[in-house]
């Protein structure tokens, strides 16, 4: 079981090596923390619940407004950006990015990571 976290942490490490990404959290769709490398001043449990609410609400809005499948939620703050996206049936991925980050690059990296997270987690679900 332990190597699941090792693998997930590798995904986080490789995302964090993208220079525009500051920190990453993998959380569950119901708002529980799976793993993260958020700065210590940030409470991961709250970030997880917020991310679940943001993505849940955004998905609802996308569907209700007839905009097709939800891709990601982008939040712009004065000092930085927050990008949240789905990672399979169970998980969500949220990245903290710097204010002047190259979004295209980040979205590409997130999509790849989300796919990888889905693979890791669905393997553990079926192995249970």
């Amino acid at each position: 079981m332990a190597d699941v976290w090792t693998e997930l942490d590798e995904v986080i490490a490789s995302l964090s090596s993208v220079s525009d990404i500051q920190a990453v959290a993998i959380v569950r769709r119901d708002g529980l923390v799976i793993t993260h490398n958020l700065p210590s001043a940030v409470e991961p449990k709250i970030v997880a619940a917020m991310t679940a609410a943001i993505v849940g609400t955004s998905e609802m809005a996308t569907v209700q407004l007839g905009q097709g499948r939800f891709m990601q939620a982008l939040i712009d703050g004065e000092h930085g950006k927050l990008v949240s996206t789905g990672a399979g049936d169970e998980a969500l991925l949220v990245a903290l990015a710097y204010r002047d980050a190259n979004l295209g690059l980040i979205l590409m990296a997130l999509e790849r990571a989300a796919h990888r997270i889905d693979q890791i987690l669905s393997r553990t679900v079926s192995a249970r």
Partner: protein
């Protein structure tokens, strides 16, 4: 809770309560698992709890040098070190000199091993004893001899009035042997770890052998630095109709809390972290209004229990409260908080129970959340139901 001389505290108030004040003294406890687990951390926490109450504790350690064991005990914070008696079974294995009063000169001689432990028991008369751990003996010696000595140790511990804990991972014994060992114990604590969709959960199963049968509780737990074992409810849903006082309940119970509210109503959720009575819990307060029900559905998963908040002055909302409970699913433990119970037109708990069609066994606790009245009691009642024990 008043301390009773025939009980020893587990160090976790909410578990003590469940046990009627702690473990009976004297008694025998088996800390059991099929795989390596956190048994030792719980055992150390148990020992530290006694030392801090001025009790003497005996720790039989087959795996760690005494210096290392003492250092690891210190990671729980300070304690009166002279009250901790260690039976040193490692120095002879490592060919090192021992500073301890009780040391086992050869771990290859079962009679000698047991003799030293018995002597330490009789001379130091500890209130708590931990043997870490029995698989060390079970893996080395004949099963029958081990079982015979095991029973003798239990006898001596009873004579001197100790609560004796045996740590045991079963590598070698069959099912019948394990049942026999469990039968020799007054309490069996089994440690289990499971993973679901990326979230790791620790649960201990607490079984009490009583004359009228077995009583079992499932206790979800976590470990905290300097505190030790803490009962942990990863999600308590605080829900109920619009304007019942859910956010106030979350705030009143939490050490830290965050609320996503606009114009005085919760539009997303309230989050609070509870740290009370040896219990840690994450509270998740949902919006009450029907238009935010999709938010409710996001969080209504793997819920440990529900605090259902109703406004005691609004009989018309009780139907909606019932319906919200239905959204969480059947079988989830819940307690009703009859909030705003200080208002003159407030209904009595019994009236609320009747109007909602609830069984007598469902607690309806009067609360005034804005003043923090009744909310702790409600959480405690919920914890009791979750930990169960029938």
């Amino acid at each position: 809770m008043t301390a009773r001389p025939d009980r020893v505290s587990t160090g976790v108030p909410i578990i003590d309560q469940r046990l009627g004040g702690g473990f009976v003294r004297p008694s025998t406890i088996l800390f059991f698992s099929e795989i390596p687990s956190e048994k030792r951390l719980f055992a150390e926490h148990f020992v530290i709890t006694g030392l801090r109450k001025g009790e003497t504790a005996l720790y039989v350690d087959f795996f760690r040098a005494p210096q290392l064991a003492r250092r690891e005990f210190a990671s729980f914070g300070s304690f009166p070190e002279d009250k901790l008696v260690i039976v040193d079974a490692t120095s002879s294995q490592l060919l090192l000199p021992s500073q301890e009063r009780y040391r086992i000169a050869s771990v290859d001689d079962l009679d000698h091993v047991v003799e030293v432990i018995k002597r330490a028991l009789r001379e130091s008369r500890p209130s708590r004893v931990v043997v870490d751990s029995m698989e060390f003996l079970a893996d080395r010696f004949d099963r029958k001899a081990v079982m015979r000595h095991w029973r003798e140790l239990i006898e001596v511990a009873r004579e001197v009035g100790s609560v004796m804990c045996f740590l045991f991972i079963n590598w070698t014994y069959g099912e019948a042997d394990v049942l026999e060992i469990q039968g020799m114990s007054d309490f069996v604590i089994e440690f289990q770890t499971s993973m679901r969709a990326g979230i790791l959960r620790n649960t201990l199963r607490l079984m009490e052998n009583r004359t009228n049968g077995l009583r079992t509780s499932w206790v979800p737990y976590t470990f905290k630095d300097l505190v030790g074992l803490t009962v942990y409810f990863p999600r308590i849903l605080v829900t109920g109709p619009f304007n019942a006082g859910k956010s106030s309940v979350v705030k009143a119970l939490s050490k830290t809390s965050v609320s996503v509210d606009r114009l005085g109503t919760t539009v997303s959720f309230d989050y609070g972290n509870v740290d009370l009575m040896g219990l840690e819990a994450e509270l998740l307060g949902t919006p009450g209004q029907e238009r935010f029900e999709f938010i409710f559905r996001i969080f209504a998963r793997e819920v440990s229990g529900v605090l259902l908040v109703v406004d005691s002055t609004q009989p018309g909302q009780l139907e909606r409260a019932r319906q919200m409970l239905g959204l969480v699913g059947d079988g989830v433990p819940f307690v009703v908080l009859a909030n705003k119970s200080d208002l003159p037109e407030a209904m009595e708990p019994a009236e609320i129970r009747r109007l909602m069609g609830l069984a007598e066994s469902v607690p309806v606790v009067p609360t005034v959340a804005t003043e923090g009245k009744g909310v702790r009691e409600a959480l405690q009642r919920l914890a009791e139901i979750i930990l169960g024990g029938s």
